[in-house]
Symmetry: C2
Subunit: 517 residues, 2 copies
């Protein structure tokens, strides 16, 4: 437990309000929540135990969904021979730039210092994987002979490295953790279905576990993954109105199977190149989680992702009270655990209850139970929610009051699960309300300019431009085209034909323009 | 499912018998079991889905035990700045030699080829972690101020790289997967207790999950982890009598806290260096698993580590029989699953039952259920065990017969769990019998020579030599001193005083000498 608490317990700094400095607020939430920190290696972060525990729950939830949809896990090498990058031309030119390159394989001691042995230079440099398409497809070559060997439905949990000049904890780090699915199919139809299926898995996870509403769509050609025929994505809106890409699912066609020469004998006895997909989400999701839900008191976690759902805090002034409240706290802990709730008792001595409240609030624990001598006398418990949905015309005082309830013991214990379920739902609801309120259908450049000057959000615009037009638009507004949403994601006025906001050409294609992380 | 079966299904090669070529037998078992294969990167393996599924169960079992003993997981950077290696002198000189070194951070295209951008050279080379003590202790410096911040009980699941000139799948690979625990304590006593506790966790896992009996002991000073005060280990005997180190737990004293300058304010208000441990096991355990249990038909998995515990194979000659046996197979599958058994139905068409038996045997599935039209008529099931313990004076025919039983349906279904439990126990029993039969207390060099000429095993000898003596002994017999077993691991004649087999000096220390992987 100490290992999880130290950072926050000893840190007395507060959290910069969002209204004052959103970027600093984010860093403060990460720090006070004891989630991660920078290391001595430029761009590489340390994921601290509380942050890692959130990632473990994400992994478990995602892995379950991957297996339910027929996938298995495997592990491929960290290193990719440099020559592999020359194989898929678009992939090489579009993607593989900022990579860590291994050139030597031995250290030696010299005058008490450790140096790189110059005689250990590798014949061929090895690139630390920025993504694994090239090495995995080199391997698939020997795995596939006929249609009977397909599909290959494989996922890998791994670390990857992309050199980053402007690192930002969770959002952009040189090394990050992720999963990457790499599948092989005998038909285009099946591969496309797979790419869409996995996007739905991501969307379901984002909305129903992370409580983050997302827009499903296609990337424009200019924003596609290098080597993909089509890139599908889910985009979420953060509290400041900026977009964050949460996950991508690529239909790769036969691009990688051709460059790795992976053919199969189809049912008609003819050799054909295999069809492929790849899809991934990363520790970046933790950044999205923070920026969607948290407030000026720190992290807010949806109960389904909270390593600790309920923290129990005994309140006492002397040894006698201590014994009494600890006994009751342990009893409450046991009862919650028997309900399958992840609860913990903070029985640390020498810390005032207020300091404990402050610490667990900053760590996003959804529910606090306070147990003092008077509560025991009355046979009641005090439940303090980390989050309740604000009501119209509510005073801050009313809101504060609604966060706390004093209930008879039995009632309180059976209220915990429903409270957590409500919180899970209301977090999604709040985020959805924000997203809706800051999404606007816009049909002129003037209006678009006003929209972004007024704070921005998701602008829905008709679009028929090419990649150059897209670059010009992006430059003008310091935004990007986030995606071409699936039609069912669009409000009625954005469906159907309209004039492209840039070229004026008639088009039925609508895109989201937004500033992004 | 295809992704798990292809390698074996399409491979028609057999398995070299152990008696003919043990090394080739090992490689054949790995290949036919579809566990792993070499990649295009020297020394780096691909862990295939079936092999990775075994690792996932190992991870789950170990992670549960780590958390039960109070540990939490975290994640530290893959890269370690070169200068960190100069900090802990013994660690640097004894350990950090064969490492992958990153020297550049960018690729670029030149004449259609991808090359390393010479202008992207790093100011300080980065070493891909061979183990993480140096980088983790650099981080702990800011996490520890007072005894209240201790202990830190942190584990990391990660990939590590140690350049290997003679790679061997699972046993020695340049990159491998492992866990590394790194703990910090306020007293020597507590740190020592932790090192012993984690060794017991490993021993419990080895014996009660892997069914591999182990000897607990200390490494000699010459075999200690570089930077450790004491290295504890568990050693197992493979079927060929050679030793394999399964896991180590190090008491590091204050060596790493001194080199990283990690001090804490103790209860007396004085600054003191922190006491440390580290401990790890790796994918090497899969090599140990294979070499302990498997036979000339391929892999044998203890049921607790089997991704598939029961495989159901319908037997039919025509469509009508197919429909009937598939229906019954599905019913049996559902009943086994409801018992919490990991069962699977092999309903692939166009493969003869014999080919399926052969494939799942090679993959180590503990129990096969065959369902043919006659079984359905009779209301019975055929259970075929992958392994039964051989009885004294049993003919191969008798043994074969005992592996198969035909039982009335209800009886068969309730027999599955007990059969799996018995197999788990008997695998441990068989391995323990082998280990005992090939462990011998020896008190002269002549006898030792005879022992190793006759095939060897674990030689227990009194030992009072120093590191130079140890090297000479190792050279003479092509063995190493595996460990100084805890006294409770020793047979009565090896306890108490005796003459050192090398120096002739009286000593109460007994060691295990053996050839090793």
């Amino acid at each position: 437990m100490n290992s999880q608490t130290k950072g926050a317990a000893s840190s007395k700094e507060g959290i910069t309000p969002r209204s004052k400095d959103y970027s600093q607020w984010y860093l403060d939430v990460v720090k006070r929540g004891d989630l991660a920190e920078h290391s001595g290696v430029r761009g590489c972060m340390v994921i601290k135990p509380h942050g890692y525990a959130i990632w473990e729950i994400m992994q478990k939830e995602l892995d379950f969904r991957f297996k339910e949809t027929g996938h298995v896990n495997a592990y491929f090498p960290l290193f990719i021979p440099l020559s592999y990058f020359s194989r898929e031309e678009k992939h090489a030119s579009g993607f593989a730039k900022e990579c860590a390159v291994v050139t030597h394989h031995r250290l030696k001691s010299k005058d008490g210092e450790v140096i790189v042995d110059p005689e250990s230079e590798l014949e061929e440099p090895l690139v630390v994987r920025p993504t694994s398409e090239t090495i995995i497809w080199a391997q698939y070559k020997s795995w596939v002979e006929s249609y009977r060997d397909l599909p290959l439905l494989i996922n890998q949990w791994a670390n990857v490295v992309r050199w980053e000049m402007r690192p930002r904890l969770f959002l952009r780090t040189a090394e990050f953790l992720w999963q990457e699915g790499h599948t092989a199919h005998s038909t285009e139809k099946e591969a496309l279905e797979e790419a869409f299926r996995m996007l739905e898995v991501y969307a379901d996870f984002a909305e129903n576990v992370m409580a983050v509403p997302v827009i499903r769509g296609h990337k424009t050609p200019g924003e596609r993954f290098a080597g993909a025929v089509d890139t599908l994505c889910i985009e979420a809106m953060m509290q400041d109105g900026k977009a964050l890409q949460m996950g991508t699912s690529h239909y790769l066609g036969q691009n990688f199977s051709k460059s790795a020469d992976v053919k199969f004998l189809n049912k008609e006895g003819k050799l054909e190149y295999v069809y492929a997909t790849s899809w991934g989400v990363s520790t970046r999701l933790i950044g999205a989680l923070i920026m969607t839900h948290s407030d000026d008191q720190g992290l807010i976690l949806p109960p389904k992702l909270a390593p600790i759902q309920v923290i129990i805090i005994p309140i006492y002034k002397n040894d006698e009270e201590r014994a009494k409240t600890l006994e009751e706290s342990r009893a409450v802990l046991a009862e919650l655990k028997s309900q399958g709730i992840s609860a913990r008792l903070d029985d640390r001595d020498g810390l005032m209850p207020g300091a404990k409240y402050y610490e667990w609030e900053a760590k996003g624990v959804p529910l606090r139970i306070e147990i003092g001598p008077k509560d025991i006398e009355k046979g009641s418990l005090c439940l303090a929610r980390r989050f309740v949905l604000e009501e119209a015309n509510e005073t801050p005082e009313d809101l504060r009051r609604r966060r706390k309830s004093f209930l008879p013991r039995a009632e309180a214990l059976s209220a915990v699960k429903p409270i957590l379920e409500t919180m899970q739902k209301e977090l999604l609801q709040r985020a959805r309300t924000l997203q809706k309120s800051r999404t606007q259908f816009i049909n002129s450049l003037d209006e678009l300019e006003k929209f972004f000057k007024a704070g921005g959000g998701f602008a829905l615009v008709h679009w028929a431009g090419d990649t150059q037009d897209e670059e010009a638009l992006s430059k003008r507004f310091e935004t990007t085209i986030r995606c071409i949403p699936f039609v069912e994601e669009l409000p009625p006025q954005a469906r159907g034909e309209g004039k492209c906001i840039w070229t004026g050409r008639l088009t039925s294609q609508c895109v989201i323009v937004a500033a992004a992380y």
